[in-house]
Amino acid sequence: MKARSLLVLVLVVILVLSSVTFISAQDEPIKIGLGFDLTGAESSLDLPASNGAMLAVEEINAAGGVLGRQIEPVLRDSRYEMDITAQIARQFVEEDGVAAVVGFTDSDSVLASGPIIQEAGVPFITAGATSPLLPEQVGDLFFMACFGDNVQAAAAAEYAFNTYGDTAYLLWDEGVEYTTLLAEYFRARFVELGGTIVLEDNYADDATDFSTQITKIRALAEQPDFYFISAMPYNVGPVVLQMRQAGLEGPIIGGDGYDTPDIVSVAGEAANNVFFTTHALMDSEIGTDGIKAFIASYNEAYGHDPENAFAALGYDAVKLLADAIERAGSTDAAAIQEALLATADFPGITGSITFSEGSHIPQKGVTIIEIVDEQFTLAQEVVPEVVPPANLDADM
C-alpha cells in the first residue's frame, strides 16, 4: 500500500513539474524544432549535430534574430526509439507549433518523423542523414543540408581510380545503412569505371578487433591498389590502426565517417596515407575563416573541438533554414520551401550549398582530405563526373 501511494505521489509531482512546459511564451519568437537522438544509439553523431544547431541558433539570436524575431529552439531527445521519434515530431507540429524542424543524422529517424512533419505542412531539414533516397521517401518539404552518399562515394571512386589504380579491397560495416549504402554506391561507380574488387568483406557494427578480416587481406596473392573501407566514426580508428600494424601500408579510402579527430588520436601516425571524402576541411589552422570561427565558438560553448563533421552540418542546417526564412520574409511553409529551393551558393561551413533543378539534395563540392603527418590536409575539391542513381536497386 505504502509503495503504491509513494508511486502516485511521485507521479503527481512529476506531472505538476512537467506542466511547466505548457506555459508557453509569447507568439513572438520563431520556434524551430530540433530533433536529435541525445542519449541513444546514434547519439555519438546526433549530439555533436545538436550542439552545432544550438550554437547556430545562439549566434543568430545574438545577431538580432531572423526577420527581427528571435529564434526559439525546441530541443527534444528522440533516444533513437522510433515510437518516441514519431511522437516528438507530433509534439513539434502540434504542441509547439514550430515553423520548421531541423534534425537527425540517420535515415531511420528521418523516416519515422519526416512523414508526420511533411503531413503537417512544416519544412524539415536533416542535418546529417545522407541517404539520397530520403527526399523521395519523405516528401517535398524535406531538404538535406548534406550531399548524398552517392555523390561522395562516386567522388571517392573516381579519385581512387584515377590516382591509385583499378583494383580495390572493399570492407563495410554490415549493420548500418550509411556504411552499406556508401559501399554499394562506391562499388557501382568503381566497377562502372572499369575497376575490379579483388576481395570484399564486412564486419559487425560492434567489432573492435579486425584481425580476422585483415589476415584475409594479407593472404591475398597480390595487394590491391587501395582499400575502400566504409566505416562508422567509432570504428575508423581501430580499423586503420590494425591494418597498418599488420603491415598493410597502401592507401585507405573512406567517406565522411572518417571526419573525426578520433581517427588521428586513435591511429596516430598509422593514419597517414588515409584519404576520405567529406563536406569541408574542418581545421582550426588551415580551414576557411568560417571554419576557424566555428571551431573557436564550438570550443567555447562546449569545452572541446567539434567531435565530427556532423557538428558543422547541424550548424549549417540551422543557418540554411534561417537564411531561407529571411529571404522568404515569412514563416509560411510554402514560402520557406520556395526560398530553400532557390538557395544558391549559400556559404555553409561544410561548403557552398545550392539546390538546383528542384532537387532537395544540395549540390556541394566534395572535399577529399588526406591525412599527412597526423594532420588533415586538403587533397582535392571535386565534383564527381557521374553519380550513381540514388536507388541502385531500381536499375538492376
Partner: protein, 326 residues
Amino acid sequence: MSLPLYALQQLINALSVGSLYALMAAGLAMVFGILGLINFAHGDMMMIAAYIAAFSLIAGIPLPIALVLMVVGTIIVAVLMERIAYRPLRTAPAVATLLTSFAVGQILQNGALLTSRFAQQPLQIAFPPIDFLRGVVLAGALTIPKVNLVSLGLGLVLLLLLTLFVTRTTLGLSMRAAAEDIQAAQLMGIDTNRVIVTAFVIGAILASAAGLLYAVQAGTVNPDMGFSPVLKAFIAAVIGGFGSIAGAVVGGYALGLLEVLLVAIPGLGDILPAATTSPEVITFFKTYLPSTLTSYRDAFVFAALILLLLVRPGGILGTVDNDNTR
C-alpha cells in the same frame, strides 16, 4: 601467405579474441555461480573502468596511478551496485534480477553520459594511447598486436590467480561453498554477504582489466560500449556451462574460435593462390562459401549455441543429469 601460415595466423587471432572473451566471461560467471544473477551491468562496469582510465590519463595522471584509480573506482561502483540494487533482491525471481541488472546498466550508462557533459567532454572520447599496448609483435610473417598479447597474458595471470584464490584460500573455498549452497554456507559460519561482496570485487577487477583492454582495442570509449562485450561474455559463459569459471574460460576461447572461423573460411576462394589450388576448390568456395557469407556470422554463432543447448544443456564442460524434466 601460404595456407598453413594463414591458418596459424587466424588461430592466433582466435586465441587473442578468445582470451578477451574469457576475461569478460569469467567475471560474469563467478557472480552467476554464487547468486544465480546474470549481471548484465558487468559490461557497464567495463565501461566505467574505461572511462575512469580515460579521464585520468586525459587529466595527465601517470599511468600506474590511473590504473589504480580505475580498479579502485570500478570496485567502488561494483560494491555500491551490489549493496543498493542486488542485495534487496536476493530472494527475487531470476527474471526480476536480470532486468534489475539492465536497469543498473541504464543508470551507469546515463550517469556516464551526464558526467561527460558536465565535464565538457565529448560523448565519445578517444582513449589516450598507452605506449606498451601499442604496436605489434612480429614473428616471421605472423603479427600479433600487443594488446592481444597482453590480454592473453593478463588473462592467463588473472585466471591463474583466481584459481589459486578459490582453491587455496579459505575465502575462496567459502566462495565455492556459497556458490553451491548459500544457506549451508551460512550454517558453516561463513559470512555470505562478505563472500558476495568479494565476488563483486573480483568481478570488478576482472571487468576493469577487460574494460581497459577492450577500450584500448576499440580506441574510443562511449557510454554504451559495455553492451556488446557483455553479450559476448554471456554467450561464452553459456557455451562453457554457466556458473563455472573454468567453463567460462573455455567458452570464451570456443566463441573466439567460432567467430574467427566464420569469417576466415568464407571468401577463401578469392584468397587461395590460383596457381597452386585446383580450380574445383576455388569454384567450390566461390559458389558455396563466398566472402559475403560472413555477414551471417552472428546467426551461425547463435544457431551453434542453440544446438549446443539442446545437445549438452550443461555447456561444453557441464554435466547434467539425464532427467527429462527440470
